[in-house]
């Protein structure tokens, strides 16, 4: 019977698919752990930086606010979008969710947007959509380093300081949990610095230290670092999201493939049994005919 052979062929094919998805799942799981660790390790630095920045930037408000170009908001003519995506697919709905969220953002923005794409999937999307892609970074590995991300920060800050873009947004996959990654778009420039709870607290913070060379100069060095840090941690978070999404997608694929395997094996055994029964009946029938 041809269907038996056909069934056997399909079982073999599903089996080899299972092997691939299972291997991808295991690889993604171990990469995920490392990517999450890296995201965690950057936290002490980020927290300290935030605290110092909050202490220095919380002040009497008003005109004094705009003492650094990275803090100053100006009339918005053009916006920039830094879009961070994976380089590869096979990670479930992550890429399309990210691209949809960024695409909607650009389409509904009032000002024309220039896109800086990190990752092939996002670049391809905006190139296809005929958006203005001013720079792309597609050579990043699974564990991005600060050296790689500071090149991105440099491009962004240069464009911002030159006035080609007046406001910059960051689009990335926020890592909520292994099962949940949230596409997020948020503003990074001009910097809305973290705030201390009250002015008194900030003044107390500033009065508690000797600043060298001066509070303003420390702040001036701190602000570009803060942007670099934000971009670095968004890239790390995206990497952790990518691996998690891939692991979950591949786990589902493996589970599905195993289920198909079970169903096919059952059908195969039934067909085989039927064939044997038919053959037996034939033999019994034949023997009975001979006896007559």
């Amino acid at each position: 019977m041809a269907t038996i052979r056909e069934l056997k062929r399909r079982i073999t094919s599903v089996k080899s698919t299972t092997k691939i998805t299972n291997a991808l799942q295991l690889v993604a799981a171990s990469k995920m752990r490392r990517a999450q660790d890296r995201a965690l390790q950057s936290r002490p630095y980020a927290e300290k930086l935030q605290l110092v920045l909050a202490g220095l930037a919380t002040n009497a408000g008003g005109e004094d606010e705009a003492r650094h170009p990275l803090l100053e908001s100006r009339p918005v003519k053009n916006i920039g979008l830094l879009h961070i995506t994976p380089n590869r697919g096979l990670c479930g709905g992550l890429n399309s969710n990210l691209n949809r969220s960024a695409g909607t953002f650009v389409a509904t923005a009032e000002e024309p947007a220039a896109v800086v794409a990190v990752g092939k999937k996002g670049r391809d999307f905006f190139v296809r959509a005929r958006a203005q892609v001013t720079a792309e970074f597609t050579e990043m590995g699974d564990y991005p380093t600060q050296a790689e991300t500071s090149a991105i920060s440099r491009v962004i800050m240069q464009d911002y300081l030159a006035g080609t873009i007046d406001r910059v947004y960051l689009s990335y996959a926020e890592f909520v949990s292994t099962a949940n990654q949230r596409p997020t778009v948020r503003q990074i420039l001009p910097i809305a610095p973290p705030r201390m709870d009250s002015l008194e607290q900030a003044e107390e913070f500033r009065a508690g230290y000797i600043f060298e060379p001066s509070p303003d100069q420390v702040l001036e060095r701190l602000l570009p670092r803060y942007i670099e840090m934000q971009i670095y941690s968004a890239v790390l978070e995206s990497a952790a999201s990518e691996q998690s999404a891939r692991m979950v997608a591949m786990k589902n694929a493996t589970d599905n493939a195993l289920e198909i395997q079970r169903d096919l094996t059952l059908t195969y055994n039934k067909a085989r049994q039927e064939q044997i029964t038919t053959e037996l009946l034939d033999i019994v029938g034949g023997a009975a005919a001979l006896e007559e």
């Binding site: 390790q41 980020a46 300290k48 508690g208 230290y209 000797i210 060298e212 060379p213 420390v218 701190l222």
Partner: protein, 148 residues
């Protein structure tokens, strides 16, 4: 009470060290020595060598700039990049220095295209410091570090 020093970069916590008697750091305004009971201080750091001193023992690190906070005998160094002297990859630093020298020369002679002189100089400075620190370590005949 001796100092507790923590060096952190964006990528990792490089070192947490307690019982330090004196800390020497490259401030942007010049070298700074931090002793126990130092007044609270917040300062920017320049690329350079950072030294822990504990009794007669010294340990040095290279940092490429950053910030330092001193408070209650706790020192937190937020470094752009930091590595222990024995971690320095000499071959890589030499390569970086040669490359940076080439770029500086090209930029000075005006045929460097869009090479940024300031950045090339900064790269040259970083690689030179790495080599300097790594070189001194070797000359002093410290035992070579075993595998970690």
């Amino acid at each position: 009470m001796p100092l507790t020093v923590e060096i952190v970069t964006a990528e990792r916590v490089v070192r947490t060290e307690s019982g330090v008697d004196m800390l020497i750091v490259p401030g942007t305004e010049g070298q700074l020595g931090i002793l126990p009971r130092h007044a609270p201080l917040m300062t920017t750091l320049a690329p350079g060598e950072l030294v822990f001193r504990r009794g007669n023992d010294e340990e040095s690190f290279v940092i490429t700039g950053g910030f330092m906070e001193v408070r209650n005998d706790r020192v937190t160094i937020l470094a752009d990049a930091a590595e222990a002297a024995e971690e320095i990859d000499i071959a890589r630093a030499e390569e970086a220095r040669a490359r940076a020298e080439g770029r500086v020369r090209a930029a000075r002679e005006g045929h460097g295209g869009d090479i940024d002189l300031a950045r090339a100089l900064a790269a040259l400075q970083r690689s030179s410091i790495r080599l300097k620190v790594a070189g001194r370590k070797r000359r002093l005949g410290y035992p070579s570090p075993g595998p970690r």
